[in-house]
Symmetry: C2
Subunit: 341 residues, 2 copies
């Protein structure tokens, strides 16, 4: 707003001998003008090279059409793709997105949120795990979280339990002698815990020989590799000669495991089956395409924005009825059967 040569409604009004009000109406309720006058104004807009100023409109009507996003990182393809899909909803809902990368630091994320609040975002989408849902709820604006702890706020999550069941059933069908789930220690608060539960329940129901191996895998590639190398040694020696079905935390880890096996045996041995999670690009680009459980990221994103828009619209009514209880939507994952099963 370079303090000069900004053509405003006033200029248009003078030029056309209408009032500012009529110019405003031309934009917000054109049908209330005669076609003639619409033409006059639209010509003037071109002639004077008018550029609309939504900041002024915000101040006047209170609608920023901003949604804030806090995303934890871009390292996992899952987050990038989720952001991609969220941003793409602009075409449907018209909301603009102010994006911050949370650095897993509480104070930093609080600062980001304050900044977003200062810009009068109408709603907030949180993917980061740093702040508790009760703190988020205190912000008193529409919020949707995705795939994180969500007790006090609306959320959209993958049906992780179903994902666990799908993976487990696939391995079961292949007549494995032992089913193994490898994962990082996971809090039961998190939606992702459902995968573990789904695995466990399915194994118990079908009375399958199974085991869960917890290892800290949320680190760099080399650490993950050495962790899984140890796991593999243990599995190799404990379940020799048995057909092993492994359901592992995600595709990145599945790929590490796969590579360890292929480098050890020259190929994926017949007695090893692997299922990952996420359907990330690595699952198709691996040396052997990896079976995986895929989140429907497009749907998750769309439902998230959709759920947020509902809340935002409700708030704009003269008599808003705030939700009694947070709404939690669930999206079913899809099993991709590839060459590791």
């Amino acid at each position: 707003m370079g303090k000069k040569n900004n053509v405003t409604f006033n200029d248009i009004a003078k030029y056309t001998n209408f009032s500012k009000t009529t110019i405003s109406r031309y934009f917000n309720n054109p049908d209330s003008l005669t076609l003639e006058n619409q033409k006059i104004i639209s010509d003037a807009l071109v002639k004077l090279n008018y550029k609309e100023n939504k900041v002024a409109r915000i101040l006047a009507n209170g609608k920023t059409e901003f949604i804030g996003i806090i995303i934890p990182n871009f390292y996992h393809h899952y987050y990038s793709e989720m952001l991609n899909q969220i941003l793409s909803t602009y075409e449907t809902f018209g909301y603009k997105f102010l994006v911050f990368v949370g650095n897993e630091n509480e104070e930093t994320e609080r600062r980001y949120i304050q900044e977003l609040m200062a810009y009068k975002i109408e709603g907030l989408i949180v993917l980061s795990h740093t702040l508790s849902s009760s703190e988020l709820a205190d912000l008193q604006i529409p919020i949707v979280t995705i795939e994180r702890e969500d007790e006090h706020v609306c959320s959209v999550n993958t049906d992780n339990y179903m994902g666990g069941v799908q993976a487990t059933c696939l391995l079961a069908k292949r007549n494995c002698d032992i089913l193994i789930h490898i994962n990082s220690p996971t809090s039961p608060d998190l939606p992702a815990y459902g995968r573990i539960q789904g695995f466990q329940d399915t194994c118990k129901e079908q009375q399958l020989n199974h085991r869960i191996i917890y290892r800290e895998l949320e680190s760099q590639h080399e650490q993950v590799k050495s962790q899984l190398e140890n796991v593999l040694k243990e599995v190799d020696s404990n379940y020799q000669g048995m057909k092993k079905g492994i359901f592992i935390s995600n595709d990145t880890h599945a790929n590490v495991l796969l590579n360890l096996l292929v480098r050890k045996y020259g190929t994926l041995p017949d007695d090893y089956l692997i299922v990952g999670f996420d359907n990330s690009p690595i699952s198709t680009e691996a040396i052997i395409p990896i079976s995986t459980v895929g989140q429907q990221i497009d749907k998750l994103a769309f439902e998230a924005v959709s759920l947020l828009v509902e809340q935002m619209n409700e708030r704009k009514k003269r008599k808003p009825k705030p939700l009694k209880e947070p709404i939690h939507k669930v999206i079913t994952p899809v099993l991709f059967h590839r060459d590791t099963t």
Copy 2:
């Protein structure tokens, strides 16, 4: 701005018996108040639960502190990481980012830009290749492009030529009998063309037996795979018994090539060396860690925002001197020597 219970400077002023101006000064020039009075106001802010409103401030002083970003996609790790690094500059410069995903459609991107202009962004970062730099320059706001055609606008690019040279020299040092560069047909306008040029010049200077193979690789995994399968057949038969050094467009493609070789021969044959580009995660996570030329994405991003901020600051001066010529910054890439060379 829920049209109610918004505490404003007016409320603070009444409560503290100061004027609005003094309240404003408390925020923008606190030193001009006595410490006493600062305390009085800061207490009042807490008591009345004041929330700042930057939208109003924008309208008053014209500074949105918004930067618009147009990114083409999130599929390549390069773009995700670049966005990550750009967003991270908030900590340094304080600018907020409005992000749009360009869908390679001109009209769509023009709409995005219009929307950004309506929100009075102070500058624009363009990663997408859809619109020409001359069209961008016509927007008359500070612009920086990254790694795309940039004749008429400021830009930050990797020294692609140097990257090509580095990759080629590495292969040359390994005493390859034939150096092969595989790439998609690339316009000389694009910075990425430098990689091809760097390869070619180095080969010529060092009088190395070389060849450039162009194939359309900007497509889905399966297509890339079958394209490279054909290339491999040709190379296999044409250069039998020779040591082949392959420099290929990027790490994703390098990985496909590597997997084809490993699946064919059980491992990477001694007469094949591979160098990719991007230092993307796949290069370390591949079945055999891939040598690659890495962009310094953090530096690229920082320089881009930095260059933009300079232009934006210049514009705020009473007598702005617009740049005579666009500035083009260049960042040197880094060679990662791994197991494929």
